[in-house]
Subunit: 236 residues, 2 copies
DNA sequence: AAGATCATATTTGTCAGACAAATGACAAGT
DNA sequence: ACTTGTCATTTGTCTGACAAATATGATCTT
C-alpha cells in the first residue's frame, strides 16, 4: 500500500482515500490487523502525524478500530457508516457488484416519493416559486446541458421545500452516488424533454398541497426513467 | 471553550465532542472564524497534534472548513453530514426544538414501512426464522426488560432481513437518535405487550412475502405507538 | 501441574518544537 | 489606477521523545 504518485491535495486526504478505498474494496479484509502506525507511515512515505490524522477520520467513519498494544483492525462492515459520502464514493469506485446499484436505486425509490410528499405538505410560497422557476427553465431549455442544469435546480428546490435536512441530506448522498453510474437519463438527444410532463405533474401536486398525488407522480416518473437508465449505463 | 474536566476517553475524542457540540448547538455560528490552531490548542490545554486530529474529523463531518492563511470557519449547516451519528447525537443533546424531533419521526415513518417491504421481498428462510425467534421471545417475555430486549432483537432481525445495508444503516442511526427522546413506549408496565399483535402481523406478512401487507401492518403499528410516545416524553 | 501474579515489551496516545507551503495584505513601482 | 512583489500569518508536514495501556510470557504460589 504505497501512496499514489500524483495528486495535489492535502497529504492526509490522499492517505484517507488510499486506505479507505483499500478497506471498502475488500483489499483489506475485516478483522485483519493493519501494520503498526510507524511501519504503515513508512510504507506510505508520510509522517506518523499525517497518518494518524487520516486514521482518526477513518475510525470516525467506522472503518477501523484502534486499541493500544493490539493495533488497528479493519472493522466488520456492519459497523461502517454506509451513508457516509466518502464510503459510498469508494464503493462506487471499487467496481461494485450489480446488487449494490440496486440497493442505491431502492433507496432512491423510497426517498423521492417521500420527499415530494413532505414538500407538498410543508413548502412555503417562496419554495414553491423556486420549484416553478426551475420548471420553467426546464421547459425553455434549448439544449441538453441547459436541461440538465435546470433538472438539477428542480431537484434541489424540491429538496429545500421538504424542510427536513435529514431527508435532503440522505437524498443528496444517494443521488450523488447514483450519478456515478448513470449518464443523464436523457441521453437520446432529440427527446431530452420527455420527462417534462412528469415534472409538471409533481409540481402541480406540490402546488395544490396534495402529498399523495405528488408521490404517485414521482413514482410514475421513476418507473419511466428506470427503463431509460438501463440503456445509458456507464461502466459495469 | 475549555475542555471539560472529567472523562476518561481519549483526549481527541473529547476535543471532537467539545467543538462538535459547540458548533451543532449554535454556540459557534456558521461562517464564524475559529481561533487559530495554536491559540485554540492552548485554550483547551491540549497539544496542537491532538487538536488537529479532532479538526480533521470535524472537517470530515462537514462541520468546519480549513484553508491556509484564512484559518478555520464553521461551515453552513447545509454542508453538515446530518446523518452522521455524532452530529445527530450532538443535536439531540443540545436541547433541540420540537420540530427536530418531528423530522426524526418523519424519517422513521418513511423508513420502517420501506424496511419491512424490503424484508418481505428478499428475506431468506434463515432470516425469517431469526425474526420468528425474536417474536417468540417477545411473546414469552416475563417482564418489561425482557420484552425490550426481545423487541430490539426483532427490529435487528428485520434490519438484517432487508439485505440492504444502506437501509439498515439509516434505520439504525435514526432509531438511536429517537431513543434519546422517548422512553420505551410501553412504560405503563401492565400492558407492555400491547403491540405484540402488530409485530405478529408484520412477521406474518414477511413470512408470506407480502410487501404491501407488511407496510400496512407497520404503519398501523407506528400510528399506534405514536399516541403512546406522546405520554412518555423524557425531557423537553 | 494449574492458576494467579507480576514484569516487560510493544503499540497507540500525547506532547513540543521546527520548518515548508500557501496565501491574503500591503507596499512599491509603473 | 493597476500590476507586481515582498512579507507576515496560518495551516501543513516532519521529527523525536515520552506517557499510558495492555497482551504476552515469566515467575511465584498452591
Amino acid at each position: 500500500m504505497a501512496l499514489k504518485a500524483g495528486g495535489t491535495r492535502n497529504l492526509h486526504a490522499r492517505v484517507i482515500e488510499e486506505i479507505g478505498e483499500s478497506i471498502v474494496s475488500g483489499v483489506l479484509r475485516p478483522g485483519e490487523p493493519l501494520p503498526g502506525e510507524s511501519q504503515l507511515a513508512e510504507q506510505m512515505s508520510v509522517s506518523r502525524t499525517v497518518l494518524r490524522e487520516a486514521l482518526k477520520v477513518l475510525a470516525a467513519k467506522g472503518l477501523i478500530e484502534t486499541r493500544q498494544k493490539t493495533g488497528m483492525r479493519v472493522r466488520d462492515p456492519t459497523f461502517w457508516n454506509h451513508l457516509d459520502a466518502d464510503v459510498l464514493s469508494w464503493r462506487c469506485a471499487a467496481m461494485p457488484t450489480e446488487d449494490f446499484v440496486e440497493k442505491l436505486v431502492e433507496m432512491r425509490e423510497i426517498i423521492e416519493p417521500a420527499a415530494v410528499m413532505a414538500a407538498a405538505r410543508r413548502r412555503s410560497p417562496e419554495q414553491l416559486n423556486a420549484i416553478g422557476v426551475a420548471l420553467d427553465a426546464m421547459e425553455d431549455a434549448p439544449d441538453l446541458d441547459a436541461w440538465a442544469a435546470a433538472d438539477l435546480q428542480f431537484h434541489d428546490a424540491v429538496l429545500v421545500a421538504t424542510n427536513n435536512e435529514l431527508l435532503s441530506s440522505l437524498f443528496s448522498v444517494i443521488e450523488t452516488a447514483l450519478a456515478t453510474y448513470f449518464v443523464m437519463s436523457a441521453r437520446t438527444a432529440k427527446n431530452f424533454k420527455y420527462s417534462l410532463p412528469h415534472h409538471r405533474a409533481v409540481y402541480e401536486a406540490i402546488r395544490r398541497r396534495r402529498p399523495n398525488e405528488a408521490a404517485v407522480a414521482m413514482r410514475t416518473m421513476i418507473a419511466d426513467s428506470r427503463a431509460n437508465m438501463r440503456k445509458g449505463k456507464r461502466r459495469g
